[in-house]
Subunit: 111 residues, 2 copies
DNA sequence: CCGAGTGTTCGATGAAAATCATACACTCCC
DNA sequence: GGGAGTGTATGATTTTCATCGAACACTCGG
């Protein structure tokens, strides 16, 4: 059939424009999610599969965190073969919440 | 004696510079606290006592929220007679987390 | 010095969120 | 098509956090 690579249900995405400030802040208030966002920011787009992140949680929790990040308009996902690869929505998120992402990424550990 | 108005233990304050991003985001991720911050932003400094805010929580919870806001470097308090009056640490917080406060204050309800 | 007003502390309660283990669905490759 | 690899869904457990009620501390004005 004229199908793309995946038969799975495509992940639900929320555009940053449709995200309340509250939701964005809550998403970024969790250390695990911030780690994901930071690692994602240091990688090329669509190169990181969900399982490739160095966080101390099981895959169930990990999957949950990605769902939250999608819901906050921070991450976009696409199925590529058996893996689900990720992309940080830098520009779109920056346009909706100017400065916020940079704040989290820079994260002066000097404190 | 050469004492100020209050004998109470002065409230503990944390300067924004000593606040981790994580803490700041968590503090602003609560709707009640955001209401406090917004009302505070719309008032002259040192004019609002803790009890003067329009939030749907008892005074115990309210007192807790102010403690969190102090710990996040968002609010400064001073005892004035029997009341404790507040001030939003606009400049200091802005210097530490550029753009963050504006983001919360503007809070486009258009979503 | 008492009483009203104000805010904090403490302990308990309830709700929300993070986590895990297990089971399941899908894709690819042999 | 079977099996390994990858991610999701579900249900239970744990932790965290917001909240409340009641008791307490402090200030001020009669």
């Amino acid at each position: 059939m004229a199908e793309r690579a995946s038969h799975r249900v495509a992940p639900e995405h929320t555009h940053p424009d449709d995200v309340p400030v509250q939701t964005a802040l809550a998403a970024l208030a969790d250390p695990v999610r911030v780690t994901l966002v930071r690692e994602l920011a240091d990688s090329a787009e669509w190169t990181r599969s969900c399982g490739s992140f160095d966080v101390p949680v099981g895959k169930a929790a990990l999957s949950h965190h990605f769902a939250v990040l999608r819901g906050a308009g921070l991450v976009e996902q696409r199925d590529e073969g058996p893996k689900r690869v990720n992309r940080l929505r830098r520009e779109e998120f920056e346009a909706r919440f100017p400065g916020l992402l940079d704040l989290v990424l820079r994260a002066d550990r000097a404190h």
